[in-house]
């Protein structure tokens, strides 16, 4: 899918590194604002709610890597979020692993799943790719529904939060929040770094004109697969963290509605922008919480937002903002 970010034009690896550092410097004001708001927020707003936002923001960043920079629309990303969540929950509750190892287990699971799904799905492009990822994700949903360790409809409940590095008890919401914030920032900057690297440049080339990239000698399928696996891994990080924070891994996280939600978050925030996914995630989580009193209308509003965004608001919030300010965001 074509996006509307503004790109620099370096050519060697060194120039790319310099350009990425320059871009990082030019974004220092927005990044500073982001960090300050995140540090202050838990004292004003219910930390559990904020943690939900952070996990989904990370998930959206991971998804944006794939759709915004590689141009592949995956309709099955819930597979990675939920799959990692189940394994992390199982690791924490049944195997008794400490927090960081449980999260790593979840992330590793998502990476492996990403490799398998990516290898099957990359063979096709565009719409086919979307349908294949959706079908594979649904297959995984049915597997989770029947497999005994997932607890079926009940999910894995009573997951202990444990201690960070054996020292810091995570039962306190505030402590947990700062740990989640650290994980989010880690993931966020990792995705940023991937995008602004020689690897990221090749991805952009593949997205803009794949035959040309191939003719230049780049094995486009390999690059796409690696990007897919990275996206899956970061989604897994988000999912594993979410399962431990909420002490529950459930079927909702592997259902296609979650895949749809993350697409909406990135679409609304702005495809292919740096901060778009974060803003999109915040807005959607708030809208859902606000509408929770009215229950069933949430899906209608989500559907409406999709329609409006696709017809009239394709650049998304940050995309429009970037256009107005004439700078990449």
């Amino acid at each position: 899918m074509t996006t509307h970010g503004v790109e620099a034009k370096p050519s060697t690896a060194a120039e790319v590194r310099i350009a990425s550092r320059a871009e990082l410097r030019s974004l220092r004001v927005p990044i500073a604002i982001l960090i300050v708001v995140c540090l202050v927020a838990p004292f004003l707003v219910y930390p559990v709610f904020l943690m939900k936002m952070l996990c989904f923001a990370l998930f959206a960043c991971a998804f944006n890597l794939l759709i915004g920079y590689v141009g592949l629309l995956s309709f099955g990303h819930a597979l990675f979020l939920g799959g990692a969540g189940y394994l992390a929950a199982h690791a924490a509750r049944v195997w008794g692993l400490p927090f960081e190892l449980a999260v790593l287990t979840g992330t590793a699971t998502a990476t492996v799943l990403g490799l398998v799904v990516g290898w099957v799905a990359i063979r096709r492009q565009g719409i086919y790719f979307a349908m294949i990822t959706l079908a594979l994700a649904q297959m995984f949903y049915f597997f989770c529904l029947r497999a005994p360790f997932t607890g079926g409809e009940d999910g894995i409940q009573g997951v202990p939060r444990g201690k960070l590095l054996g020292l810091l008890s995570l039962d306190n919401n505030l402590t947990m929040y700062f740990v989640v914030l650290a994980i989010f920032l880690l993931g966020f900057f990792f995705v940023f770094r991937v995008i602004h690297s020689p690897f990221g440049q090749v991805l952009k080339a593949v997205r803009e004109n794949e035959p040309r990239a191939v003719s230049l000698g780049y094995k486009s399928d390999h690059y796409k697969l690696i990007a897919f696996v990275l996206s899956a891994a970061v989604s897994g990080l988000a999912g594993a963290t979410k399962a431990i924070v909420f002490q529950l891994a459930s079927l909702t996280d592997v259902y296609w509605s979650t895949s749809g939600e993350v697409i909406l978050m990135v679409l609304l925030g702005g495809l292919g922008t740096i901060f778009g996914p974060v803003v999109g995630a915040v807005v959607i989580v708030c809208v859902e919480s606000f509408l929770a009193q009215i229950g069933g209308w949430v899906t209608v509003v989500q559907g409406g937002l999709f329609i409006v965004c696709v017809l009239a608001f394709r650049r998304g919030i940050i995309g429009e903002l970037a256009r107005v300010l004439h700078r990449p965001l």
Partner: protein
Amino acid sequence: MTTVFGIPIQALFSQLLVGLINGSFYALLSLGLAIIFGLLNVINFCHGALYMLGALLAWLMLEHAGIGYWPALILSPLAVGLFGALIERTMLKRLRGLDPLYGLLLTFGLALVIQGVARNYFGVSGEPYDIPPQLTGGKNLGFMYLPNYRGWVILVSVLLCTLTWFVTERTRLGSYLRAATENPLLVQAFGINVPRLITITYGLGVALAAFAGVMAAPIYRVSPLMGADLIIVVFAVVVIGGMGSIFGSIVTGFALGVIEGLTKVFYPEASSTVVFVIMAIVLLVKPAGLFGRTT
């Protein structure tokens, strides 16, 4: 009692029958999807929601206007087809020329809206819809029990699929459709109103889905979410059959229904995933699908 591989023959044939019925719905829905994709290059994600709408309208007509099954078979697809044409005219048209993924996202949003509104007014558990009196009861065929209505479903599906295939492949209208898929500009140059053709095609494809919905109402309850999980299986069917091929969709739909039924007999735990497993295998061996043409 005779057994085949340890399964009593009655159970085998009964499950095959259930599989064939599911297959009928897969075939009807993937047919509509294939036609719409062929001409509009849009994956119609709201196909499942419109299938549900067809069933819902039939139920509403019965509840509030006393209109029974037989008139509903015509009226409901007509209404939903018109609704579909409206969607195409007002929304899908604007996405012509853009990346087809936007069409997918738009129809996804539409599906959420239609399903959400239905869910809010009718609840999740669904409403019952009685089998029309002319088709109740069943025949004991000795090796299995065949409810009449289910036999009727299979018969109508096969007829309708054959009819659609015939129209698309062997009539002039069909040839215009196929030509417009290949090269809309040239076809328009010949004086054929391509935008109108597209709108009509979308309407027809959607009407087909609604028709399937009315047929499904007596068997599955009329529930707002009846199309949601079904559409994903239909996607898999279409991928297996090959996106450009109408014949492929029909044959694959029926075949997969039967395979799913067989799986329920021998290995029930895998029955909901077998379609997707087959899809993965087909993709690895023949990426364009079994009957597909590589684009």
